[in-house]
Symmetry: C2
Subunit: 271 residues, 2 copies
């Protein structure tokens, strides 16, 4: 099937998921929509998160996507079940893939999750982990400093090291911890520094890479994968400033991002 | 859903897949059937492999399984598409999960596969890898000595090291190789020795662990997972000697295997 895969995020964080989709599924075309103007979703009430996400989904459904990826932890926590029910295409969030990958790799059964305050407060990861395996010990930690550090794009190696060291201190004292889930799509950008801080005995799970893997599984299971050979041109949309989006995209993505379009999806503005 | 997951294999090799299913999905009940008396399937003609596999599937379908795992590389190569079409439950083989995991982890895009002569001759892994990503360089190697080494159960650490060293020599000269798929369900038993021989720059992918991960994905996607909490009792069947099967199972599995039953599934014998 030559229809595109749709990816939605509250902003630029989901680009790490899109990057993994492009790397693991190089024949698939991606349409990305980042709601940058209303970012972050984390501190907003549930009703707004649901409404904003539905507006993004409407935009992509009109582009005839064959599968939807919710590349935002907050939006996944609040809208995955609703969207799975509402849409007749497969819908994949970022939480369960990270949880499953952690269960696969942990030997000590001691897993930790880091994320934004919203994601940690939602307890979405501990719930997903325990639903599959009640034998796990799960700890979590909000690392609110990481997102602005990554998005600023303007940080020294020394500054990152300091922030990572201070933020992760509460996890380092935990005996037997062998698996750490990066429960925020921004964090893979500083994965190397997080790995260095935690030490080689801790395996780092990137939700983005694991989500791309599961998209591959579901495309194959549902026989929705592109069958031929091609080098697709991806499309990027943002509700915010396209130049700023493009600048960050070109820092993060493996291939150059040439075209980013601004769109208005806020339905109150369409009236 | 409290129905069991069915696992079929030509013999004992698939126990490494069952072990991973039990570890990653501890609430799910497993029914395992090993066709030990007609093992190995590798050298048999396709028509026999298909017929024997269908006989195994018939046996498990009568036990009302909710999902079928073909935990045998040869049987996957020859019957996955057929069984997916024939059955109205999800069917998962061991080849695609290993391929997808390799694509996820490789950075150099140079992947190798080792397996039995039958699996390597079928080219099932290179085909699965290239279908998803034509950018990969894939090499493969038959390691016929590994299965008897593992099944004998009677090997010294030194002997394993020697056989592994000699068998893998052709792969060690390959520049840039960073990912090795264990394309035979017996090989995870000697994964540590394979890792030591290949060096830490090569990531080892166990098809069994990756298959269990994908079973978890599909159970969740199809809402077939067991919802409550339980410690299920698994059931093991073999067409061969139950005592021999039990002996190997107790060497390989994490939890003790108490009960193994002999069954006759060969339809010519039922007449």
């Amino acid at each position: 099937m030559d229809q595109p895969i749709g990816v939605i995020d509250s902003g630029v964080g989901g680009l790490t998921v899109a990057r993994e989709l492009m790397r693991q599924l190089p024949k698939e075309e991606i349409i990305y929509l980042g709601d940058t103007i209303r970012c972050p979703y984390g501190p907003r009430p549930e009703s707004e998160i649901v409404q904003f996400t539905l507006e993004m989904v409407d935009f992509l459904i009109k582009k005839q996507i064959k599968l939807l990826v919710i590349a935002c932890n907050t939006a996944t926590a609040f809208t995955l079940d609703l969207l799975k029910e509402k849409l007749d295409i497969p819908v994949i969030g970022v939480i369960q893939p990270g949880a499953r990958a952690a269960i696969k790799v942990t030997k000590t059964k001691r897993v930790a999750v880091i994320g934004t305050e919203g994601t940690i407060k939602s307890q979405a990861y501990p719930k997903a982990l325990k639903q599959i395996s009640s034998k796990l010990s799960v700890s979590d930690l909000a690392c609110p400093a990481f997102v602005s550090l990554v998005e600023s794009g303007n940080y020294s190696e020394e500054k990152i090291k300091k922030v990572v060291h201070e933020s992760l201190a509460p996890l380092k004292s935990q005996q037997g911890l062998d698996t750490l889930i990066l429960g925020c799509t921004h964090y893979p950008i500083i994965a190397d520094q997080i790995q260095a801080e935690m030490g080689s005995q801790v395996q780092i799970i990137s939700s983005g890479a694991e989500t791309a893997r599961e998209v591959s599984t579901i495309l194959s299971y549902q026989q929705l994968g592109y069958k031929g050979d091609r080098f697709p041109t991806h499309r990027f949309y943002t509700t915010g400033d396209p130049d700023l989006f493009k600048q960050i995209a070109n820092q993060w993505m493996d291939d150059p991002v040439d075209s980013v379009k601004n769109v208005v999806i806020d339905q109150t503005k369409n009236k």
